[in-house]
Subunit: 422 residues, 3 copies
């Protein structure tokens, strides 16, 4: 159990989780959640195979012990023990002898990135396969090869976990990350690590924060099928949180939800990208399906499929950095500061400006043109606190940081000039 | 009677219509409609001179047999038989001998385009005149000249014609072109030819299509005075449809009518111009007068007065090309595809994404980042089919071609995941 | 008493007002209003010290006769008689002998502009001080110095004045300028001079025009506390009206009030700047406080604090020019033309275009593409006079000058085609 994770501690967590062979079901997910559970108390749910969840059914559970392609000399040309990426995710068991030509339909490579092993899965069509570098494939002779995939695909469970930080209100902020990818660091162990760190940093928040660690697509669908989403006020899917790129925010389907405005406010003034919603990417696809239409955006650094290491063996712990992880965390923290602090106030002295100087809120020497930011913030808060504007509205309109505006509101409230709107 | 006209066939039609001396009334319009009637069954209306039509009255009918300015040697210096542009449109009859100085107030030239003959009319002020090139005028001596305009301006009729392609519904798409210009090819025989070709291409459409061939201004006013416009759902005036310039769309007065959105969608991704409505140009002026305010835009290539050949003898059949005519037709056809196909659907499985793979609608191999356009279109249609968005909305928001989105909707409807909104 | 002031006459008025030592109260304001009163009949209000006005109280009245810092030789190193800027505004009386070190906390300079004397005040914290150039300060030895400020700060009155030009309606246009700055020419004697000139130019206007000459902040607050603002339809604060910069308009808090649209229309097509509202600057701060939220914008040339001469001894009559003053006046005059003339009309012949030619409103020769601006304006007015658009809307949408559109409306009204909307 830790408090707040530093950048290096987040990276250490990623390195520890990296070797585990995760999939949408199975012991890899369970082991991952056990390790996360060392940092945060988790409520783990196990949903039986076959359970109807929205338009889907919980699939069979997949587990794997070993897999290889051995050449005539007995050498493992492709070896699951070297990297779990070498097996097509959800492969059915296979054991036999194949020539290279017979094997080819089951071999996946990246011709344009000949040194890298691709990440591939086949969740919903029963097949088997191996992923390998193009160079390895090019060096293979005609065989025959001894082939083994020692996997099981049997009735079992789908596993997900939740961590809740109780707030002053039951309204929730949902932070969701997928935990179904095997040895891929940025996508999405980095998201998991930043979520763990954020959870550790929240103390007595206003909102209740729910962290969801679930396999992609089917995990989110299962969670949505089993829970009331009515309390979710704001949400983010978190992924690709540790690469060297700048931050990217993808808006919720609503486009102008408070979470959209909070994240874009925090990102202002630093290099970043804002994308409109599209129905592809991470589990915002599910949260933003039209039946739910939840105010859930997506925060990443370089987004999905936007970097050459994406879904390859190059997305390893060396691809993520403590600095990038800490930067994502700090941004996310600032977003929570905006969500937590955004309120609507009413100016109790709305006719003309109140005399701030008399109340010690204003510099006494007139004629100077370098008015201070704090004083400008007070004037903005007074001018726009008509019940129609929140502090975030005021921060956006004035171009001032939210924190400065919120401090001004505090000072004015303390002076009896402002009160929170009922 | 033909089916669909090709580009060269449209040009052949233009060449056949070109020599006829058209005006807002008279036998030139009748002869033009007879030739159009060889391609399309037409309902021809004859409205008597003096009939009140909105704020106007149907004018007298103008017909002309010959006109010239002869020099002392008997040579026709200006000769109606060489080009009907040489006579000021609607000239009253004249016969007499004039010196050049006496003639000058009746002679119209283009000083900046000295080789070209201008097109001029005087419909509502009784006068007579000749149009000639500046070079011809400069070569004329002081005269005297024998002058004849063998015209009649008498009670008669205004003539217009309609061709209707019945649709599944009585709601109408109006395509209107003016047929009052004499020997001018792009303005507007090209519009007439493209309209004829479009009419031939429509087979069992959803909407009823009404093609109106009428003289400019007074023809549209006469038609509006005599017909109920309540069935017009979408409309276009069509002109300057064959010049080498790029396409130009001028929005309806409403600015965001379905026709405005359909045309701008189709034009996206190719060089084009979109103009806001202005109360000048072609008969959209009448259709978009505030009392009617019909959703009628204007499609041209280079717009009104935007090319040096405009309203001169250089707007001859050599100025229009089969390729440009075919391109205008194809664009117009695509516009009708959008109008015909734009529907609002409801996602029947709106909670989370439905499992497309199970229904054979989705590639089975996961992990790849090159999602196909058809799959993306299905995700967009599912996500936005909440009863608030039509397929055109979805095409615009996704940046995908309408046809791809419409096909996705068909596939999803076939799979029982979508139904058309009642 | 004058009629319209020319640019040189405005400058002459500025030069005459320049030497007077104004403050937020006292005889300097009274003397200023006496001189303005030679041009315009004024109603002067005197509000006693201590009177509660909104959140404030009318302060004591400040008057000053002399002030200096004398060196050992008796020379006035700092001399109020040379410039009234040398005394910190609202200084309490002081008389004594001080070393330079003792004096330093009371001396204000501009280190970055070493030749200039700053303008400083201390209205609401009792203190005293001198303003001087940095060069003067650097040349001072350690003293001691004989120091005198012969001022009084006693119960008295706050003084402001109003000039009203009665209109056809009681709805008001408010033009407000501050009269509290001592020897500063652009800020705001230029504003005062332009206001005086505008008042002289208005004759039998539609709106009633109220010109307010009041000390900044407390003057506006006092006026707001004592008057009903319900009649104010449009308003402007006027300041910095004579510097060589281009015009700047700062929108009202509402952002899209008629005054905002009128000024931006008039400024279109010439170099200018439009700023969104912010709760700092001149007395628009008070008029646009949320309780009042009046449609009051701010017209300046270079805005507040935007020029190096701002609030220094360099803002002298040499900084303003007759040309700039006349340009500001003419712009303001054009704004009043828009406010006065903006009306909503109804097209009485809205079905199709009415036949303008029959009514002598349209050129008779067709076919030409150089339609005249006046004809285009008539078509625009007819097309948009549906009760939803005012003449200013039409001018903005058509891109035509307001005056041309208004003339078209007059012509159409004269022809019985248009009537003013009830």
């Amino acid at each position: 159990m830790t408090g707040i994770l530093t950048g290096p501690e987040m990276l250490a967590l990623i390195e520890r989780l990296y070797p585990i062979c995760r999939s949408i079901t199975g012991d890899g997910v369970r082991r991952t959640l056990e390790i996360v559970g060392e940092h945060l108390p988790l409520t783990v749910s196990e949903v039986p195979t076959g359970t109807p969840v929205l338009d889907w059914n919980v699939p069979r559970e997949w587990n794997i012990r070993d897999a290889y392609v051995k050449d005539a000399s007995g050498r493992r040309v492709v070896d699951f023990r070297a990297s779990n990426l070498h097996v097509l995710g959800y492969s059915v068991p296979v054991s036999g002898v194949f020539t290279l030509d017979e094997l080819r339909p089951h071999l996946h490579t990246l011709p344009d990135q000949p040194d890298l092993v691709p990440y591939r899965t086949s969740y919903y069509a029963e097949t088997w396969g191996f992923c390998l570098s193009r160079r390895t494939l090019d060096a293979m002779d005609e065989g025959p090869y001894e082939v083994l995939i020692d996997s099981t695909l049997e009735d079992g469970h789908l596993t997900y976990a939740e961590h809740v930080v109780p707030g002053q209100v039951e309204d929730e902020v949902l932070i969701s990350c997928h935990v179904c990818h095997p040895s891929l660091a940025n996508d999405n162990l980095a998201g998991v690590a930043v979520a763990v760190a954020l959870a550790g940093r929240l103390a007595d928040p206003y909102y209740t924060y729910r962290f969801l660690f679930a396999p992609g697509t089917i995990g989110a669908i299962t969670w949505l099928a089993r829970n009331d989403t009515g309390r979710i006020r704001h949400g983010l899917t978190l992924a690709c949180a540790g690469d060297p790129g700048t931050l990217t925010y993808k808006r919720s389907r609503r486009g102008d939800a408070a979470i959209d405005r909070a994240v874009t406010h925090v990102l202002k003034g630093r290099p970043h990208t804002v994308l409109d919603f599209s129905p592809y990417g991470y589990d915002e696809r599910q949260f933003c399906s039209p039946g739910f239409d939840l105010p859930v955006g997506s925060l990443t650094r370089t987004p999905y499929a936007g970097y050459p290491e994406y879904h390859t063996s190059a997305d390893n712990p060396g691809f993520v950095s403590p600095e990038a992880l800490a930067d994502t965390l700090e941004t996310l923290w600032q977003v929570t500061r905006v969500l937590e602090g955004d309120r609507s106030y009413v100016n109790l002295s709305p006719y003309g400006e109140p005399q701030l100087g008399r109340r010690g809120l204003y510099g006494s020497l007139g004629g100077r043109s370098d008015t201070k930011q704090a004083q400008m913030a007070m004037l903005w808060v007074l001018n726009l606190s008509d019940g129609e504007h929140t502090l975030l509205d005021i921060a956006d309109r004035s171009g001032m940081p939210f924190a400065v505006v919120a401090e001004a509101a505090d000072a004015l409230t303390g002076a009896g000039l402002l009160k929170e709107r009922a």
